[in-house]
Symmetry: C2
Subunit: 197 residues, 2 copies
Amino acid sequence: MASKTEKRREDLRENLTNAAEQIIVTHGVRAIKARDLAGMVGCSVGAIYNVFHDLNELVMAVNGRTFRRLGATVADALDGSEATPQEQLIIMSGAYLEFAHENTLAWRALFDLKMSTDMAVPQWYLRELGALFALIGKPISAIFPDWDQDQIDLMTRALFSSVHGIVLLGLEKRISGVPVDQIEKMIAAVLTNITTQ
Amino acid sequence: MASKTEKRREDLRENLTNAAEQIIVTHGVRAIKARDLAGMVGCSVGAIYNVFHDLNELVMAVNGRTFRRLGATVADALDGSEATPQEQLIIMSGAYLEFAHENTLAWRALFDLKMSTDMAVPQWYLRELGALFALIGKPISAIFPDWDQDQIDLMTRALFSSVHGIVLLGLEKRISGVPVDQIEKMIAAVLTNITTQ
DNA sequence: TGTACATCAGTGAACGCGCGTTCACTGATGTAC
DNA sequence: TGTACATCAGTGAACGCGCGTTCACTGATGTAC
């Protein structure tokens, strides 16, 4: 029957997810509090548990959005461009860096320990990650046409991890604090050197 | 005057640091609890605060040890070997990977968010990191003799971050769960390609 | 060396706080007739 | 359409727990004479 009640539920879910996203974006995942959320959307604390099993599920809803935005950003960066495979990798990495830079806290939430320590990563998480890897894998197999799938997979992970590592430590102001354009240079240098046979 | 009292204090510091290290190694930083520590070393909870300002300071003491062990491991790996600069980088990375693999939780504690979010990273931390970078910088300047210091510094950070990223995601079982020898291959592939002009 | 006093390490119960989650209750929405 | 009843969303005070840190107290160690 959906209607009214059902709609209210969905609106609440939506509002809570928006509120949670806003908190994550501005203050990080750790700043998510039931009472704040309730205050923000104008519902009671208990109501949250009517539409989400617990706060972690709510955080995961936000992470899902973030992941989709990230995937879209990286995919869009390539769109329509006639770049060489090498250039494609650099473009995607640039998009990744930019996304991480513009959405640092939301991006960090994706890799937050609580999620990755407590329990199994949900299916859609891995699927989303797989989609990202597939995007990277294409130019790689163009660059190394005689490699088999295993080699390509390995290199895909390696490149993703490398870029991720550079972005991660680069954006960690307290430890290194490298300006973004320098991070970009590092990535380009690493990728160019790796992919130039 | 030092003597007796002073010695007791130092013993307690030592014992507490050992206990904390043991907890971190087996259960991770987040598992550090004042009551557990007191139980382990056979002192009262309050006594901890007599020799450490707070638990964070104690964790930092353990992190200091870990950092020194890590530095020594990486330095030792090179010791006496007549490897080419390229090989040296791969050897150091291998040592880094092995250390991270054998001491995953202690190694993770080094990069734990609480430390890096709450406040400034202490001086010795940066000094220790600088020493590690210096170790990496040497073979790099041998490989790229015509580069200036800035370029070398940049590449040093880039390589360290890359390797760190590969190790990080590789060891994150819940996300990727790559066998260690595969991680090693990734690192070697990346480094070889980067450093082969 | 012995005694009196002062210091400060050591104690652990209690404070205080944060916060996720529950639960008995209420009132609006939906259903049956 | 109107009435009676059932359901379940919504409420928010209270529960419960974990845990870092404190603090009034005690007793051992060190000092002065």
